[in-house]
Symmetry: C2
Subunit: 456 residues, 2 copies
Amino acid sequence: MTATETTKPWEELARLAESGSPPELEAFLDELPASDVALAMSRLSDDEQAQVVTVLTPDHAADLVEQLTDVQAVELIEHLEPQDAAAILDELPSDEQADLIGDLDNDDAEAILDAMAPDEAADARQLSQYDNDVAGGLMVTELLKYSESFTVGDVVEDMRERAEKYRDYDVQYAYVCDDSHCLTGVLRLRDLLLAKRSQRIAELMIHEPRSVQDHTTLDELFDFFESHHYLGVPVVDVAGCLLGVVQRAAVDEARSGQHDSDFLKTQGIVGGEEIRTLPLLLRSRRRLAWLSVNIVLNVMAASVIAFFQDTLSAVIALAVFLPIISDMSGCSGNQAVAVSLRELSLGLVRVDELLRVWLKEIAVGMLNGVALGLLIGLVAYLWKGNPYLGLVVGGALCLNTMIAVSIGGIVPLVLKRFKVDPAIASGPILTTVTDMCGFLLVFGIATAMLEQLTNI
Amino acid sequence: MTATETTKPWEELARLAESGSPPELEAFLDELPASDVALAMSRLSDDEQAQVVTVLTPDHAADLVEQLTDVQAVELIEHLEPQDAAAILDELPSDEQADLIGDLDNDDAEAILDAMAPDEAADARQLSQYDNDVAGGLMVTELLKYSESFTVGDVVEDMRERAEKYRDYDVQYAYVCDDSHCLTGVLRLRDLLLAKRSQRIAELMIHEPRSVQDHTTLDELFDFFESHHYLGVPVVDVAGCLLGVVQRAAVDEARSGQHDSDFLKTQGIVGGEEIRTLPLLLRSRRRLAWLSVNIVLNVMAASVIAFFQDTLSAVIALAVFLPIISDMSGCSGNQAVAVSLRELSLGLVRVDELLRVWLKEIAVGMLNGVALGLLIGLVAYLWKGNPYLGLVVGGALCLNTMIAVSIGGIVPLVLKRFKVDPAIASGPILTTVTDMCGFLLVFGIATAMLEQLTNI
């Protein structure tokens, strides 16, 4: 093994930041894949991370910040002096500025905004008013905007003069506005290329272009880009004034972030994404918030068992099957939850189609319930040689599978309809209800045929 | 309510397809948001769906197919006559052609390829050789390619002549090749715009442009686009010949699909995405594949209880707490699994960093274990008035929480290292091991202090 293979990238990163050599540090970061940048930074202390970004020029530091995960970027920015943070934020695209500022504590955000370039700060203040999941919060304000009276030559002249400023812009379209800044047309770069220089852009542009309002939701934007092969769409206010552009990529990224956070929520990570570099108490508290609700629900469900202590004493073998029935019903129900969450996010089911979902689920539930019930019934019968024990646990699991898929399929729709986040709440509701039903079924059937069971 | 509000979109869709009026049907589909197209099609029978796409022109049918989910598109194409399917596939971008063909049965795929336009079929055959998650499988072959000897004027002339052909292309860059089709440069559209018509493109282009090989993986591509502000990257073979272009949007979409399918797998939907319009037996079989493994593991774990029947008979109250300890340990462990899966997908942890992950998890596990243990111990004590019962169940849950987060944190890394899909396998391994440990802890501690417990 050579030395470069054994030195970890974060050790090298810390060393270069320590030695304070900007060109070497920049060259090193340029060579690292983006995911290794995030990894390496996550292994440095807060102070070391701050040192890295202050050694870099603000421009390069902004590139680095863009490669971090959102959680990392916020932690890092909060640890910087306001003027250092402001210099970096000045270099970020307007949508990322606004996202970061929205995620900071109010005091931190104000201190940084005060230290930013006045025009950048004004933009950022305005954009950070919007929620992250509407067009206003997803748009960038860096765009090419021309007056209707311009010719193609005027546009080309402007692009040549401000080449440096436009360098980092995603220029696919230029936007045409009238004197009151209302959007009247869109120019495609390729049409500009094919046109004569003397032609007026008002003749060349796409008139009455499609646009969205600043409060258009993420789901509506996603639909828009699914229906139209555009790379970006202009955002206007109620008066039709051009505010910015939402890029297709920004919408895709936001959707994907939403799905990731849904995934974490179904697994009990609530209150924000967890990465293991976050402070211990914060991680513990966020996880415990979910666990403590669950334990209360669990105690409620298990209290059913307490009511049937006499039956249980008589047929102690039942205790072996209670956790199995609880867990397997949870598994079957969670499958139905997952399919419902997915169909909701794909728009393949409406929140009021409870009957449709139930019919689809109960059909699967009957098949799988019978299969699982036979299997566990057989195990119980073979273990104790008593067919009635098999009948009790097999019958209970079979019926409870049907209950579990019904609840698992329907609960996400109902929660969504009542504006409760189905990713967070579906699981706990499902397991509590199915546990209770499962225990009731086992003991209900067992109590009914107690005479046949007590000879075990 | 007006008539349009009460008529469901799929009823209208079926009616328009039945009446066979292409312009009306096209107008109706143009008005529907993309997600409603997928919803409406999902409510039609296979025959009705086939009728809709055969009434449309192949071009419009292709637009519709692009708005469906992948599972829907495959089901629909398989239900069409090969020549109808071929006409639609001819109109799709090359990457979607290849995806669809790759997902079809081999016989169906061959029949459709035979009926396609020869050049489209040749492209599609070649692209469908690639896996979906490498550059070759993600690229499109629709691109602008020019010889080094061209001038800006030649390029503009070509773009004007073939404007119709290029209409649906995502043209951000044009690619420049030498006589042996090797990629030598990239032209940005905006540089073309600013240049003189007489200039040779070889002088204007970006030389030695960044490119990727056809076998570059999705993760590497994602890293590439994280590090570079490009909208697309050219794909070359080992000899440097230009094969196609991977768009940033295609990479984002593939990543997001991968995350969605990971989510479904953690919840027990394996063997492919499920939507509820799939045949009942297929849905049942896929779900049962996961459930039947789980039930065997569950029986193994629960068999621990069977070994301690004497202890259980003596202290029947323990039976109430077994499902609670099983479920709560599963919850804590699944939180650790979720964070590990997320950190792996973000590249924030390496598969060999077991010690780091364990230290981070055990710290949270100790805090949360003590909190949950105290809570459940208190419940047990208050219920039966016996502090030792509280000690048994509280101690067991506390220790088992630490075990659960350790296993939950580490197992995904180990599985990934041994190339087993951590999204599928982590959950079942976790619950089996933590159930066993939990039951052993309860009965181990209870057996040791049996005398103090039997007065309950």
